[in-house]
Point group: C2
């Protein structure tokens, strides 16, 4: 695919970089073709494991090589909750989701959970970064919407961490996602994103958006083949700019409803692709990004079972970076407050599931079986009393009470309970401590850049 | 466990059978102890694969050795739906669930989806069997509530199939579930169930109900060790009665809420146990039974994610017989009409997920990528047009329409859509054809046995 058909690269600088590394460039067609060995050679320079640093080292996290991190949803233009319904994103909503992300340990990384649409585009990146960096300590996502905006955001990350540029270059502290313009095309802002993040030493997740039947062949094998070609071509660009730049192999192969053309998520085909995507990433020794998705319009049973199909595909597939881990609804067009809480529960359950249970003489419990004997009961056994406090996962949303007790208490379903839980979580939230000098420097930077007119964004 | 502590067996006939095979019996304590080699020797006689025959050979199904069948929920005393709420089971509700089971191809086997509580106990087994055998062609579950009731039900199965006793003995056509009285106890009706079904050549699923922290050690390793001991002891009894009798290794290890003692299902620990249970069953070359469970009181998001955790544990664990596949709610105390439909969707998705996608030159689709080219679209490609009709799983409940269309159409959530779907399915249902002579013979049998006073049940 990359050798014969090649990648269409819209930005001349990117084509020049590919050419400098030995790719064959056909300028008129804006086409770049690759020798398979060249791609493999470039991709082999990327690290298999990445540590994202936080402004609080407690939240430094490593992913790749069998370790996985969970991020919030990223990118929805809308937000919704049970009372206020669906509406465009806002700075207030973004702040809410960042506070929720900070509040749950199972969320390791911030996505872009809401878009503050009321903030002018030229300074929006500054406001987004300020919200991330003051309300949370977890590593943030920055949009690739142009070199100046990205540079501003990364500079704010540097200020928040209180380190110099050389150290930031060596210590990735934020990430972006570059979606290839499938099939086989890389546009200007996406090329710039890969190039700029590699130069700044920050993480790029290269994710082809290969919907089988629309932007990729209708077969899972074909869509995965195209995903693989596109991901490798993007990753190669990062390694041309800076060998060893932290980069992630992203998979997002799903299918469309062939009657309506609507994208579908968390389908059986999606799950197969999520699993096989992990095999491909491991083939190249790269960290693998997958997602927690659903096409449901409501935080309901469909949202739950499609998310579970996505999660199992991702995590059994060896996913290292789970984007859209919490909050994604409606094919990614809405961040749902209730879905965020339901997802936290599902993620916590998966984390507990992946913790290997002890298997040794004590846990096998023959002495307890002897003590209790046939027909007995274990509630009072010594083996039970020693372990009961943290023997099992304690749920967040799930209600295990009997029907009568549950009914007398209002017969609330899981979504209604999730509504109460996000409100309680926001009410309890306290911002993480920040050195006042750092806060001042951040504010001063935002003020100065705003005065300078902000940034031109794509 | 079986060698030193042993199994308490309440029925003298069962103890005598164990003794006849070489087990050590302590009569005063009603205790049976086993040499490990004896257990392994007996268990090795059981088949690794079983075919359940239907009165319509189209519905004959084989499970074991990598093949799995899905059954409805079995055993709940209550039923519920969105309009009528929760209420005790009835013959009408049982008929509804059997009709639903007959209507969906992904359901292979009938459980005991509702209890016709208005039918007197002495003749209830006759009415249940008549409902199963006239409204469905799928292999049914019969309760072990006493030898006469079981014999009556199996005789009705024989009549429905129109075969003689010798052939029924060689061709299992129904099944029962024997729950061990954990820890390490086997009561009279359960012993009788194992013995009678082995004598009749029908299938017994031996399932210890090992809730960690209550009826089994609080550790997953300990609960599984006890599950294994109990399952093997029950299976051994069937093989003493009739070597080669069709029998299934059942796993049902879960945990309880240590605060309230309430059983929990579809938890991380449940999923671990479901996976490991499959490893144990394969260790002995036995078909493995697992379940689709939830503790939720409503057919909501919790019901969906707990069911998915159960399904993934079961199916990644190599489950061969999935009991409670559709309809289970509230820890098994209620059969829900809406949950049945949601479960059918989840089962269908799993079935589609397990179908390996083709990987060959045609499916890799390089020609399609060449035809479409960078930046193009696959909707009109020849590769797409050849395959679009059945390329992807078509959902039953899931709504993939965009938000606006969905909202204008009533903004129904998945549970509300499931409510409409079971009603439509029942409205469309037509009973499968039955030879009038067979129907007459069944009715005559029921009339005669009713006149004789039915059966004494446990």
């Amino acid at each position: 695919m990359l050798g014969e058909i090649g990648l269409k690269v819209l930005w001349p600088e990117a084509r020049a970089l590919y050419k400098s590394a030995g790719a064959e460039v056909e300028e008129g067609e804006e086409r770049v073709r690759f020798d398979p060995d060249l791609i493999e050679e470039l991709v082999a320079k990327a690290p298999s494991k990445i540590t994202l640093r936080s402004r609080n080292p407690v939240h430094d996290i490593t992913f790749g090589e069998g370790r996985v991190v969970f991020a919030t949803v990223g990118g929805p233009p809308n937000v919704s909750d049970l009372e206020r319904g669906r509406r465009p994103g806002s700075a207030e909503a973004l702040a809410d989701f960042v506070k929720l992300a900070q509040s749950f340990d199972v969320i390791h990384v911030i996505g872009a959970p809401a878009e503050p649409v009321e903030v002018p585009l030229n300074v929006r990146h500054l406001e987004i970064a300020r919200i991330y960096l003051t309300l949370s300590e977890k590593a943030p996502f920055f949009y690739s919407r142009g070199p100046q905006a990205l540079a501003d955001a990364v500079e704010m990350m540097r200020i928040a961490r209180g380190i110099d540029e050389a150290r930031l270059l060596a210590e990735p502290s934020c990430y972006t996602v570059v979606n290839m313009n499938s099939p086989l095309q890389l546009d200007v802002p996406m090329s710039q994103g890969i190039i700029d993040m590699a130069r700044l030493g920050q993480v790029t997740i290269v994710t082809p958006f290969t919907l089988a039947g629309a932007m990729a062949p209708i077969t899972i094998a074909g869509a995965l083949a195209q995903q693989n070609a596109e991901a490798l071509a993007g990753i190669a660009l990062s390694q041309i700019v800076r060998p060893g730049a932290p980069v992630v192999y992203g998979g997002f192969t799903s299918n469309v409803d062939m009657k309506s053309g609507a994208p579908a998520f968390g389908t059986p085909e999606y799950t197969q692709a999520a699993l096989a995507g992990g095999q491909l990433a491991r083939r190249y020794g790269l960290p693998y990004r997958s997602s927690n998705t659903t096409a449901s319009n409501a935080p309901d049973a469909q949202a739950a079972y499609e998310s579970e199909m996505s999660l199992w595909g991702a995590l059994m597939g060896g996913c290292n970076f789970l984007l859209h881990g919490a909050g994604w609804l409606e094919g990614g067009l809405t961040s749902s407050y209730e879905k965020f809480i339901l997802d936290v529960e599902m993620l916590q359950m998966m984390a507990a599931f992946f913790r290997p249970p002890p298997v040794d003489e004590a846990s096998l419990g023959l002495a307890a079986v002897r003590e209790v004997g046939p027909g007995g009961h274990y509630f009072g056994a010594a083996h039970t009393l020693e372990r009961y406090e943290d023997a099992f996962y304690a749920p967040l949303v799930s209600d295990w009470r009997n029907f009568e007790t549950w009914e007398e208490d209002g017969a609330r379903d899981a979504t209604t309970r999730a509504n109460r839980l996000w409100k309680e979580t926001l009410a309890r939230y306290e911002p993480p401590a920040m050195d006042p000098a750092v806060a001042e420097e951040l504010d001063a930077f935002v003020a100065r850049r705003t005065e300078e007119g902000g940034a031109e964004v794509a």
